[in-house]
């Protein structure tokens, strides 16, 4: 009740995650130029300033770097940076919601560990 049905993330975060995914999946390679903010703006029908905000998040994390007058490029070792960053965020992003839900259902820590073990066995079969 009373909940909003569409739950969306901020667009600039989605833009930065999309580029990160492309780097992880080798759609964008190291030392390769990424689309400009204007290209991203026209592709997704968003304001260029928002696209730039997403790009700047990646520059701040060292995933992209700027070549003056040419554009933005994927840094060397970008993949490792993304993996490391996502590992750091893992607990906050996934464990927190998992534990809140487990808590509201009265699932104990032991039960949770048993579930994880059972699931990883099933996954490998």
């Amino acid at each position: 009740m009373n909940e909003v049905l569409t739950q969306e993330k901020s667009i600039y975060i989605q833009i930065s995650e999309m580029i990160e995914n492309d780097i992880l999946r080798d759609v964008l390679l190291e030392e390769e130029r990424v689309p400009s903010t204007n290209e991203l703006a026209r592709l997704y029908s968003i304001n260029p300033a928002t696209a730039a905000k997403g790009i700047n998040l990646l520059v701040d994390n060292g995933i992209l770097y700027k070549k003056r007058g040419i554009g933005m490029f994927v840094s060397k070792g970008a993949k490792e940076i993304i993996m490391k960053k996502r590992k750091n965020e893992f607990a906050d992003k996934f464990l927190k919601t998992l534990l809140i839900e487990a808590d509201s259902l009265g699932i104990t820590k032991e039960e949770l560990i048993a579930m994880i073990e059972k699931w990883s066995v099933e996954k490998n079969q």
Partner: protein, 290 residues
């Protein structure tokens, strides 16, 4: 060219105060979204900003120069208004090409090639009389005039009204193309808020003749949250925060909260915290109890 400034602008029609002292500064090189309910004063504001309508009080200036009856300044402003299929004494029998011709004389930076390209893109027939156009086609014509005017300040009043979803998408893409090419300033009013929200760098909300807020769209959305759950739990988690709307059903409560810098909702298992979209936020801010 500098910013377009509006100082304490009032508009009074008879006894009705339509604009109640508007202070607004439009920076060069941004796309602004102008949203507000029917009768909020959006069109009146745009017509005063573009000197098509005199203000009852207050000043509008561009680069420090008055806009009213100042040709030098008006040359930089285009307010492409809704075109009526009726004229004073019957049907509007002017043709599309007549409108384009008039616009080419009126706007000093008129881009004829762009206008031709857009006529073709929207599949309009230039010989067609305006009274024979559908609502969507009339919108297309106002869009073509606005984009091809190449005016530094371009205002569009509900440009997507009557357009089908494909044509609307085309408009957003064309707008971004022109914007990224030229860095012109656009002010666009719309009721289809959600669709256009991502295009707007800043959003201006007009409510009952006042500016309710003017803020970077993404920052505004980042600080608007919806909290729901058991009424006591919701009340406890939003204590001290700015709540702009509450809804109750039985023991359940939903609250729309605008966070100020540094504020956070205390998240716990008993309440759900969700992001809001611009449309939902607008209803929370300007909606009325039914």
């Amino acid at each position: 060219m500098e910013n377009l400034k509006c100082e304490n602008v009032k508009k009074i029609y008879g006894k009705k105060e339509v604009l109640k002292g508007i202070n607004l500064e439009l920076e060069k090189g941004k796309i602004y979204g102008l949203i507000g309910r029917n009768g909020a004063g959006k069109t009146t504001l745009l017509s005063i900003l573009s000197a098509q309508n005199p203000a009852s009080e207050g000043n509008v200036t561009l680069d420090g120069e008055k806009v009213w009856e100042n040709q030098k300044v008006i040359d930089h402003i285009c307010f492409s208004r809704e075109i009526s299929p009726m004229s004073g004494n019957g049907q509007n029998t002017l043709r599309i090409k007549d409108y384009l011709k008039a616009a080419s004389i009126f706007y000093p930076n008129w881009n004829k090639e762009l206008a031709e390209e857009l006529v073709e893109k929207f599949k309009l027939e230039k010989k067609k009389k305006v009274c024979k156009l559908s609502k969507g086609m009339l919108s297309m014509l106002t869009i073509i005039i606005a984009l091809a005017s190449e005016a530094e300040y371009t205002f569009l009043d509900e440009p997507v009204a009557g357009l089908d979803v494909v044509a609307r998408d085309m408009f957003y893409k064309l707008l971004l193309r022109e914007y990224t090419k030229s860095g012109r300033t656009f002010v666009i009013s719309t009721h289809i808020i959600e669709e256009a929200a991502d295009i707007f760098e800043e959003v201006i909300i007009v409510n009952q003749g006042n500016i309710l807020l003017k803020e970077n769209t993404q920052e505004l959305l980042d600080r608007a949250v919806h909290v729901s759950g058991k009424a006591e739990d919701v009340t406890a988690s939003i204590e001290g925060l700015k709540c702009c709307r509450k809804e109750l059903i039985g023991r359940s409560m939903g609250a729309t909260v605008m966070l100020r810098p540094g504020e956070k909702i205390k998240e716990n298992a008993s309440v759900s915290v969700q992001k809001l979209n611009l449309e939902k936020l607008f209803v929370a801010l300007c909606g009325e109890e039914v």
